[in-house]
Structures are given as C-alpha cells and as structure tokens.
C-alpha cells in the first residue's frame, strides 16, 4: 500500500528542465506548437500563478498552441486539477480534459506537468514551477486540448489478454489461492491504467508501434504471477519478441513516474527472468 505524502516520489530538482533539443525537433507539421494567448488574472487577485497549457482545437485548422492562464490561488483548490477546473469554470469553458474521481484512483487526469507524468488530482500546485507547464500525456495523438487518444495503448493492453485463463473445469466454488500466492500480486494489481509510465518511456516514444510499453507489460506480469492462471506459456509466447518485450532497456522512467508507486521496471525484469528460465 502506498500513501501519497507529496505529489512526487523523489525531489524533482534537475539541472535541466528539458533535454537541449529544438522545441519542434523532428515534429510533423500537424504537431508543431505555436504561441497561444494569455488570459490575465481577474482584477483584485492577490496570489496569482501562471499556467502554460497545451491547447488543440480539432474543429479549427490551427496547430496546437500554448495558452497562458493566470490562476487566482485564493479562489482555487490546492491541486493542479483544481486549477484546471477553476480555469474551465471561470475563464475558458472550452478547456478540455478528462477527470473523474479527483483522488488518484481512476487514472483519467494523467498528464505531463512540469515535464513529468502524474495525475493532476494528486499533484500540488505548490510543487509546480513558475510558470507551471501542463501538456497532455507525452507522445500521444491528441483529440482535444489535454485529452489524448489512448486507443493504441489500450489495444496493446488487450494484446496481453488481461483476464484469468484456465483449462481445469470450473470448480464448484472459488479457485483457491494461498495468502502467500495472493501476496505475489501486490504491487501489480493496483495499476489504474493511467499510462503515465508508457507515455514517459523513451523506448515507447521511438518504437511504440511494436514495443508494448511498461503499463501493458506490468499487467502482463500481473497475470503471469497469478497462481490460478493456466496460460503462463502462451502468455510468454506472446511477449517473447525483440520489440514487444526486449525493447525495454531498463531506462526506468516508468518506475520514476508511476503516481501509484508501482514498479513496472521490476515487473518487466521478472518477465525477462521467466523467459530465460524456460530456455535454460
């Protein structure tokens, strides 16, 4: 169990805010980001914080842009999601983003804030740089504003067949599992499929069409580790591939960014160990 103490697991102090590459390096013409407009704070606001937010309107012919919103912190809750809701209610009702539970369990409001992925509902505004930057999840096709198209990563999730598979005829009552066997799922079953890890993985940036990515692989291990499952071999067959599994180079941006404190990197290492074990 992980209790979220701060809105990040390790201090985010770094020498560089971003890699020293041109802003639009290798970017297709439709993805180039332009300058947007500034929405100044309302008169009378005392504590003001600027948010630079990625905007994209699919109904116009315009490219994505970066709008600046000045948020009145005395009128707004403590989390980045509160700021987004405040902007939508008070400044620009067209600002679009996914949100539901506002307590870190639904995984809807995953986005790239100040250069790392997290849930907007569990990141404190006070932890954000000035100006704060909010982008949709990195390396995703964007439907509108902060709403990414997750079709492909969910298709990759479907590929690992995330359900219990058995051959033994269904028992009259439950399928028994010892407490020890059950505990092997701890740290894996809690995944909320926010795709913070997959979106933050450089290997998935360059080979996302073939590499399954940390989220799908962590889920794959959750079923490999399940003592009740009877399809371990078939599951490993699906995974053992130079791209699907072995494109993971243990960069560990995934473990670094998981807002649930899970460890996709460790899960992938366990899969690699299983594949090796059945060959030697």
């Amino acid at each position: 169990m992980m209790i979220i103490r701060s809105s990040d697991q390790v201090p985010r102090t770094t020498l560089l805010k971003r890699f020293p590459v041109p802003r639009n390096l290798g970017v297709g013409p439709e993805s180039r980001i332009g300058r947007g407009k500034t929405w100044p704070a309302l008169a009378g606001a005392v504590r003001v914080k600027a948010f630079e937010i990625y905007r994209y309107d699919p109904d116009s012919d315009d490219n994505p842009r970066l709008d600046t919103f000045e948020v009145d912190l005395d009128d707004c809750g403590p989390m980045v999601l509160d700021a987004l809701i405040w902007i939508k209610n008070k400044v620009d009702p067209t600002l679009t983003f996914r949100r539901s539970c506002r307590e870190g369990i639904c995984g809807s409001c995953a986005m790239t804030m100040d250069g790392t992925n997290w849930l907007a509902c569990t990141r404190f505004i006070s932890d954000m740089a000035a100006p704060a930057t909010v982008y949709p999840l990195a390396n995703m096709r964007i439907i509108k504003d902060l709403v990414p198209d997750l079709t492909h990563v969910f298709a990759q999730y479907a590929m690992i067949e995330p359900w219990l598979q058995t051959r033994t005829p269904e028992p009259e009552r439950e399928r028994p599992q010892s407490p020890e066997e059950r505990s092997r799922l701890d740290g894996y079953y809690e995944c909320i499929l926010c795709f913070c890890c997959t979106s933050g993985c450089p290997s998935h940036w360059w080979n996302g069409d073939r590499f399954l990515g940390p989220a799908a692989l962590l889920q794959a291990y959750r079923w490999l580790a399940d003592s009740r499952d009877e399809a371990t071999g078939e599951r490993l067959d699906i995974l053992e591939d130079p791209f699907r599994l072995y494109r993971c180079h243990t960069i560990l941006n995934c473990t670094r960014t998981c807002p649930k404190g899970l460890n996709p990197g460790k899960a992938i290492a366990e899969i690699k160990k299983m594949v090796l074990e059945r060959r030697t």
């Binding site: 697991q9 390790v10 985010r12 770094t14 020498l15 560089l16 805010k17 971003r18 890699f19 590459v21 041109p22 802003r23 639009n24 390096l25 970017v27 297709g28 439709e30 993805s31 980001i33 990625y54 994209y56 699919p58 012919d61 490219n63 994505p64 790239t112 100040d114 250069g115 790392t116 930057t133 982008y135 949709p136 999840l137 990195a138 390396n139 995703m140 096709r141 964007i142 439907i143 990414p148 198209d149 079709t151 933050g200 450089p202 940036w205 180079h249 243990t250 960069i251 560990l252 941006n253 473990t255 670094r256 460890n263 990197g265 460790k266 290492a269 366990e270 690699k272 160990k273």
Partner: protein
Amino acid sequence: MMPTSPAKRPRPLSPNIQIYRPQLTSVLSIANRISGVVLSLGAVVLVIWLLAAAAGPEAYAVVQGALASWLGQVVLFGCTFAFFLHLCGGIRHLVWDMGYGYELSLIYASGWAVVAGSVALTVLAWIASLLLGD
C-alpha cells in the same frame, strides 16, 4: 472511437523528448548508450594499434605518436571515461537484470554511485598512467 474521415488532417502528436524532463534514470540510460558507441569506436583504435604493432616498429611508432599527441590524449581520455561509465553502468544493469535494486531510492543511489565511481576511476587511471609514464 469516432472514425477519422480521410479528408481530415491527422491528429497532432503531443511532444515527448522536447518537453519531458531529463532525470537521472533517462540521462544515465542515454549516457550508457553513448559511452557504448564511443567504446565501439575505441575498439577500432585498438585493432589499428595491434595491426601497427604487428607491422613493425615504424608503424607502431606512428600510432604511438598519434596517441601521444594532444588530440590523441583527448581521445584516450574520452575513451577512459566512457569505459568506466559503461563498466559501472553495465554492472548496475546486470544487478537489475537479476531482479534487484528496483526500489526508487536504490535506483537513485546506484545512479549517483555510477556517476561518482566512473569519475573517480577515470581520474585514478590517469594519475596512475602519468606517474608510470614519467
């Protein structure tokens, strides 16, 4: 999901490396890769050096002279640092591949250990080389 009509332009791709924060995890990963590529080029120098030694004292003297030059020393220093970085980083990867060291605190501790270790070993190697060379 709504089907995209062919007339519509493709959806933009949200930025990745352009905005994602460099952190110890990704920086050491790319450093391990770059040092590996540098060492591949160093391996070419190694073969040239052996071929020159096999060819005779004259050829060997030419290669030794090139390596002793200002540029040669810079290349050798770069190769030394790349070697120790790749060595320390590689050992860190081997430990990970055995399934250990994945706690975030250990990932950061081992990462900084790799940085400190490779710098220290490079300096030590060059001090030893300079002392023996005189």
